[in-house]
Symmetry: C3
Subunit: 351 residues, 3 copies
Amino acid sequence: MDGLTLEQIAARLGGELVGDGQAVVQRLRPIATATASDITFLNRDKLRPLLAETAAGAVILPESLRGILPKSGNAIYTRDPYLYYAHLSQWFWQLGQPAFQPGRHHTAQIDPAARVSPDARIEAFAVIEAGAEIAQGVHIGAGCFVGRDAVIGPGCILHPRSSVGWGCRLGARCVLQSGAVIGSDGFGYARDASGAGVKIAQVGIAVLGDDVEVGANSTIDRGALDNTEIGVGVKIDNLVQIAHNVRIGAHTALAGCVGVSGSAEIGAYCFIGGGVGIAGHLSIADGVVIGGMSLVSRSVRQPGMYTGAFPLDTHANWERNAATVRQLHQLRDRIRHLEQYIESLKIEPST
Amino acid sequence: MDGLTLEQIAARLGGELVGDGQAVVQRLRPIATATASDITFLNRDKLRPLLAETAAGAVILPESLRGILPKSGNAIYTRDPYLYYAHLSQWFWQLGQPAFQPGRHHTAQIDPAARVSPDARIEAFAVIEAGAEIAQGVHIGAGCFVGRDAVIGPGCILHPRSSVGWGCRLGARCVLQSGAVIGSDGFGYARDASGAGVKIAQVGIAVLGDDVEVGANSTIDRGALDNTEIGVGVKIDNLVQIAHNVRIGAHTALAGCVGVSGSAEIGAYCFIGGGVGIAGHLSIADGVVIGGMSLVSRSVRQPGMYTGAFPLDTHANWERNAATVRQLHQLRDRIRHLEQYIESLKIEPST
Amino acid sequence: MDGLTLEQIAARLGGELVGDGQAVVQRLRPIATATASDITFLNRDKLRPLLAETAAGAVILPESLRGILPKSGNAIYTRDPYLYYAHLSQWFWQLGQPAFQPGRHHTAQIDPAARVSPDARIEAFAVIEAGAEIAQGVHIGAGCFVGRDAVIGPGCILHPRSSVGWGCRLGARCVLQSGAVIGSDGFGYARDASGAGVKIAQVGIAVLGDDVEVGANSTIDRGALDNTEIGVGVKIDNLVQIAHNVRIGAHTALAGCVGVSGSAEIGAYCFIGGGVGIAGHLSIADGVVIGGMSLVSRSVRQPGMYTGAFPLDTHANWERNAATVRQLHQLRDRIRHLEQYIESLKIEPST
């Protein structure tokens, strides 16, 4: 890799460049470990003390630090260094990648009745069933499965061993990490008179908007009758479960290990913390943040941050406090009785 | 698809048909969106107002609404519309499916020492090891793995990329959703004198009864010495973890993201809510319902509903209340002191 | 299998053998069900009553029981029967296994630019990309994926359908259960001015030390810039999520369904209970035990056991107590007011 000059970077990504525009940087590195051939960035206040020390060849800095320079004398000032870093990281990534080569591995099993763009790339042991559509620029990884009539939009990347069930639809530029499963059957059973479960055929599909990313081994069920719908730009971390008929609004992010129950509706621009559980048939407004490991058991109608998680403590303290939690209702009653008795003592107004 | 007449439906599935028995319905749709060629059903009271408005060609209704008709004039009254819907959904599903074709994809790797029914279907890139038994009517999806000596009962469906480890046994009509893993090693280690883990060979198997369904990317460990046993009709949602030597009684359902620790025993006809954690070496009686995200850390000996989850609140309120939870034991003591002091004031009996 | 004599066992694994050294045992069985041809062990006090009854041909016992013999008259006394059992279980396991046969299944796709030891075994439909290194004694299961430049250390076992992304490194004797994903992209996005996520290229790798085991369908993300690092001997159960740049110290164990957020550091010799969530950018000291389903939202600096989980109760009691939790802060204030009022009554010192 020949690297990029600071001038090249600022020309494409913007920002105010101070210092040597001909300086070449080879890669991005964290501020603590960057060397003279690296560019780095500063976005967390607690890393601020490292700015004076970093050996980085250049530093991306917030506009609020304009005038402050690292030892190298090279800086790019920008409104949002983290966003700048994101764009630059993609650029470096692409520099290090071989050019995208369309083609089909000879072992891939592609049904003759599938429509696969000549500009797509299909790796070994992939299976593409009849009626499936694979758009241009799609990269289907080794061992992936695309079921009949599924649609994979332009520029999607399916990492190895991910799968898309029959009829499901991915918009443009979606990314499935390894092991992700789109379009598994929803968990729907009626109970017969004996109490045995009778499966409800799951005939809806899962529809992912453009720029959705789904984490490793995450699962998104198809709908029962209607569809499961994941909005544009939704980002889903690893080991997340999305049940049938869930709807998620645009640009919402779900961290790892979240479970969303059937028919829940989550708004746009939400952030759902790791390990959160969302009960079924409720709705969450736009712009809601849910703290990690919380259970959302009722609708949340106002934007804002919400949490519900038992605080960590030493096990011994926890044991005592948890026992008391189970008596909390009685404690409240005891306080009320005390208040009433005290009140009864105050025969005369006290002022 | 040519659809079904209401008479055909009532003849096979029962119920009291009112209206035009020759009316043809093409598919099931939700009551809000059904059209004249659809049949729908009503099972949630909050959808009741839609009954007067639905354009559905026919509606499956509870017997309690006998006499009330939708605009189409066509209804089937039945004790349990949801159960009726389940049966009908399977019928429509089968109508839309090509007939089951036995056969073996030429890429499938089937050990000569495996016993595979000629009436089974094996898709591309499946691997069937020596000694495995695949019964009639089984459908092994693309990229599935069936280990040596494993037994797959008649009519099982293994969706693409699911796997069954050596020796494990599935009863009749089990369904594995994509990515499900049956028979991974249990998490068993002794600690040596230095504190390093020494693996305990996991030599038991996992045994699934008839009609078990396992969700996408769920995992069921094999037993350590004895077996892991999943009862008849158990339904397991996505991303559920069942540890070694767990036993689950018939017709119990486990929602998504549940974790069951080693050697736990769960009774029959239980419902374990999403995200629940069940500690090891305990037992849960038949007919127990556990609310979502609860931790079961002791045996539950009586049927009924149990819950343990911190209530969601605004983050600010939660922060204050969570801090107080950590002082709860002291609060209880302070209340007791107040009570004792108040009692000491009451020198004379108050009545 | 011809079994082992007690003398053979004691000669290799140690312990004090009492009884018939020529007695042959065929396998390990639990104490309750062992027969004359089995050896068993006693490690849980509650199983002690079974010692007088067991039909086992021999019993591994703690030294504290020296002098107490089972009916068979054969016992091996050792400091730690569970550890003894672990070693013996591995021995029996190896006896029952065919000898390791190096080789490459003809369907495996191995890039000519991969370096694969002639002493490794590669199963059907495995994919090994260019630059990958597969050391001696490695067993790559059916359908596994090893990305470009990944390194798989000597003696590793990749169970079917597990995968290791580009550049990631496994030490010696690591085990990946089926469906495990090493080296998925971390969950890293900046937000642009419109609130849409902009992906941060994840260019670090995941590095696993020697003797690490990763459970079925667990996921370990690659680092963003730096690496994700899993220490020697770490044991990870099923459905565990390890985010980017996490570091885990030697011999720590994580039970099922744990989620560890980005850049968290967990010490050595910790035990993280099932379903625990660990927030990002915090650190946990060596020797910490976290109880199941707890949320760790701040650093834990002292060894010891910590818990935070709402206690299970009947749903009715829980509902009342949970409602009161939301008023806890006010309850504390009401107690304080009562105390202040009571104090105001005590005009004279009471002693």
